[in-house]
Amino acid sequence: MNVPDDLLYTESHEWVRREDDKIRVGITDHAQAELTDVVYVELPKVGAVHEARSTIAVVESVKAASDIYAPVKGTVLEANKALQTDPALLNTDPYGEGWIYVLQVDDAEQLKNLKDAAAYRAAIG
């Protein structure tokens, strides 16, 4: 499984890329492989404020709907509209074109609670 070194990770299989005081978030290669065949992504609303670990988006495979959680508290700045027409980007390019949203982080200190690549690799075995 591809687990890039320069990203942070959550226990619920989201990846987090720091971009100054913002973060870009998607689901990991491991998560997309588990889900397979993503057929629909419910994007967060731009401007919405989300608490850490609250449901912020929903990813649906053929079989089931899975919640995506906000890794830290923040405000949604951007959502990846390309996923509305091509949800399979989550499968084909989870760390690139398949990003889901950008969050303005409330308190950057909270990012310290996330896993680094080594810890995430250990978590997924």
Partner: protein
């Protein structure tokens, strides 16, 4: 139910070897997918796929009175079954509620094989034992049998590769064939809408038969298929799933399956109630629908709305891999349950438009 209580089919180790994702299903642990539901689904629509259906139950009724007795227990007319033929039928309670839907095959003049749903084996058996006639022997052979469904347009080629140049049994016929020394019951039946066969044989031969089918199907593009694809394939055809679309709360007439109920034959369990239902007219029907706008796929238990008012519940729903949009079924009042009528499906608090469609949802050319 803990893992220890969940039953495994004799092919469990084969599924693990193939890297299947395993889920609990009706008291069993079963492969939901090997690689991708979509790929497995399309393999069945375009080539051929093989499913482990060993979890399904096999009940055998035998004796001089077996046919006559079964005709009092089941809705379809068993007197029409010649030896080597099968028919889809229902086991009802006294109130015409559906206990199970099944296929009964007449494998000998006085011997019948009933293939029943995995989650209903014990219930079916107990109900039938309770109503057993003298001189009929009923056995639950479920643990002794393994079963495969082999489905898809390339079944003819695979059949020849497995059994030689002999012809396939005709639709709904069951014939015994040999494969590498193993005797198999081969029925021209299925649950996918594609041409195909279902085979039943001794559980101890399961891995050998499974691997022979995969090997000989390889050049045809065969895929091992899980319950995920089984569900999307059957739903495109609007075949009901017991426990979701069928239950003791529903009768076969409102499920739209009156074709498999013979109200003109001699008396059977539930027939008085069904006659009454028919006389009074149906209140609701199991309708098929498709999502019309962009939106998430429908799922079981989502609420259905009509002009803003709650109109029922989705019993089956998914994204159709063949059609590329959301499809489902729901019991709706008769005036709404007509092709062209508009409804809404509530998904996470938001309503999405859908229209009632004629069955099957996938129109095959």
């Amino acid at each position: 139910m803990s893992d220890a209580e969940q039953k495994k089919t004799p092919l469990y180790e084969e599924h693990v070897k193939l890297g299947a994702k395993i889920i609990p299903f009706g008291g069993w642990v079963m492969p939901v997918q090997y690689t991708s539901i979509k790929e497995e689904h399309l393999a069945v629509r375009n080539a051929v796929g093989v499913f482990d259906i060993s979890h399904m139950g096999e009940l055998v009724a035998s004796g001089p009175q077996a046919g006559e007795w079964l005709n009092t227990m089941l809705t379809n007319n068993i007197t029409k079954l010649a030896v080597g033929s099968g028919q889809y039928t229902f086991l009802l309670n006294d109130d015409a509620g559906i206990i199970d839907d099944l296929i009964v095959y007449r494998i000998e003049e006085e011997k019948f094989l009933l293939v029943v749903n995995a989650s209903r084996i014990e219930e079916d058996f107990a109900w039938m034992e309770e109503h057993l006639a003298l001189d009929v022997r009923l056995q639950n052979e479920s643990d002794r049998y393994a079963g495969l469904a082999i489905q898809g347009p390339r079944i003819g080629e695979l059949f020849a590769a497995l059994f030689g140049a002999t012809e396939m049994p005709a639709r709904n016929q069951i014939v015994q064939f040999s494969l590498d020394g193993t005797k198999l019951w081969v029925a021209r039946t299925g649950y996918t809408g594609e041409d195909g066969i279902e085979v039943f044989f001794a559980a101890e031969d399961a891995a050998q038969v499974w691997n022979a089918v995969l090997e000989r199907g390889q050049s045809l593009g065969i895929r091992a298929c899980g319950l995920g694809a089984r569900d999307t394939l059957r739903l495109e055809m609007c075949y009901p799933l017991n426990g979701s679309d069928l239950s003791p709360k529903h009768n076969p007439l409102e499920a739209g399956l009156g074709f498999f109920v013979d109200l003109t034959k001699s008396e059977f369990t539930g027939c008085a109630k069904l006659k009454l239902v028919k006389e009074e007219g149906l209140m609701r029907r199991l309708a098929a629908f498709k999502m019309t706008g962009q939106g998430p796929p429908p799922r079981p238990h989502y609420r259905v709305f009509r002009n803003g008012a709650d109109a029922g519940e989705v019993t089956s729903g998914t994204l159709s891999p063949s059609l590329g949009y959301g499809i489902g079924m729901a019991y709706l009042d008769c005036p709404i349950a007509r092709p062209g009528e508009e409804i809404e499906i509530e998904i996470r608090g938001q309503k999405f438009p859908a229209t009632i469609e004629k069955k099957p949802l996938l129109k095959k050319s």
